[in-house]
């Protein structure tokens, strides 16, 4: 537990509205975890459906507090763009990680865990564990 610096969360969706709404939902369900740096990176720069490398880089930079950044994505080009940016090496802050998690449930788990002051490994584990929440 780092205590002071919180892990940043970036939510990448093909839709700007989905990314922004899931960010609001996660913060709301985390009991108003206002201290957690969460940034949506949704849609293309032109406002259409898709993925923007620039928006992802900017969002990651904006939530980096030095404790790492967990990036959650929806599907397809969102996943591939984050992986390509990570492979570049200098496009995302040090300690940025693509987290393999369901988008909505994983975002909630990540924000709650980050709000508790957990480190990036714990945030990643909590988000990934959301895959095991069976609904039926």
């Amino acid at each position: 537990m780092s205590g002071e610096k919180l892990v940043g969360i970036v939510l990448v969706s093909h839709s700007a509205e989905v990314a922004a709404s899931v960010a609001e939902l996660a913060k709301g369900l985390a009991g108003g975890a206002t201290a957690v740096p969460v940034a949506p990176a949704g849609g293309t720069e032109g406002g259409g459906l898709g993925t923007s490398a620039e928006l992802i880089s900017a969002a990651a930079a904006s939530v980096d507090r030095g404790a790492g950044v967990a990036v959650l994505t929806d599907l397809g080009s969102a996943v591939l763009t984050v992986k390509a940016l990570l492979a570049e090496g200098d496009e995302l802050p040090d300690g940025t990680r693509l987290v393999d998690a369901p988008f909505v449930e994983g975002a909630v788990a990540a924000v709650v865990t980050s709000a508790a002051g957990a480190d990036l490994d714990a945030v990643e584990a909590a988000a990934a564990e959301a895959y095991s929440y069976r609904k039926v």
Binding site: G50, A53, S77, L80, A84, A87
Partner: protein
């Protein structure tokens, strides 16, 4: 030997070809995808041509890494990181050499295609761009014309395949009977390379 000017011509030739064929790529993508492949690649390669005109890198590796960076940041769909990775990995494999031979280009392109397979997780036969690129790289040792023919043949051969990667894979058996848009645009990229090489002679 192939210099930076050759690689810049390859990219501008590819940009022109993608613009010319954008409607056909989008039509193919509307059958089994989300109908944006042509417009996405057109936007990406237009940005590539503009960046190369502005910065004009003086090595083959520099041209391809800049082009790949542009594609990753401007395409907006999965083809952006995939083609971006193809060109960047190829460019990095070419290093800082001011000129490269055809064998070096073939080896570098193979590294680029390996990078695409690692990123997207696709293998030959999955009905993706890999089905045009792998045969093209295999044939490049024989010559640019052979690579173009192999890529076009590979793209056509995706029609009877069932998609196993990307959005088209959601369609299951209904993806059968449609030529893959990514394999088609990959064949255009290889054809642009062959056209550029033939214009030299």
């Amino acid at each position: 030997m192939l210099d930076a000017a050759f690689f810049r011509r390859w990219m501008t030739t590819a940009a022109a070809s993608v613009s010319r064929e954008a409607e056909r790529l989008t039509a193919l993508d509307s059958a089994i995808g989300d109908a944006d492949h042509g417009s996405n690649l057109q936007r990406g390669f237009t940005a590539v041509a503009a960046a190369l005109e502005k910065e004009a890198p003086d090595t083959p590796g520099g041209v391809l890494t800049l082009a790949g960076r542009q594609l990753i940041s401007t395409v907006g769909g999965a083809s952006g990181p995939l083609y971006g990775t193809l060109l960047r990995r190829t460019g990095k494999a070419l290093g800082d050499a001011p000129e490269v031979g055809e064998e070096e280009l073939a080896a570098a392109l193979r590294a680029g295609v390996d990078g695409v397979m690692a990123l997207g997780g696709a293998a030959p036969g999955d009905k993706t761009m890999i089905d045009a690129l792998v045969p093209a790289v295999d044939a490049l040792g024989t010559g640019f014309g052979a690579a173009r023919a192999a890529a076009e043949e590979g793209a056509l051969a995706t029609t009877p395949l069932q998609a196993r990667k990307g959005r088209a894979s959601y369609l299951g058996e209904r993806s059968i009977g449609h030529q893959d848009p990514g394999a088609t645009s990959s064949a255009l990229l290889i054809a642009a390379l062959a056209d550029t090489a033939e214009a030299e002679r």
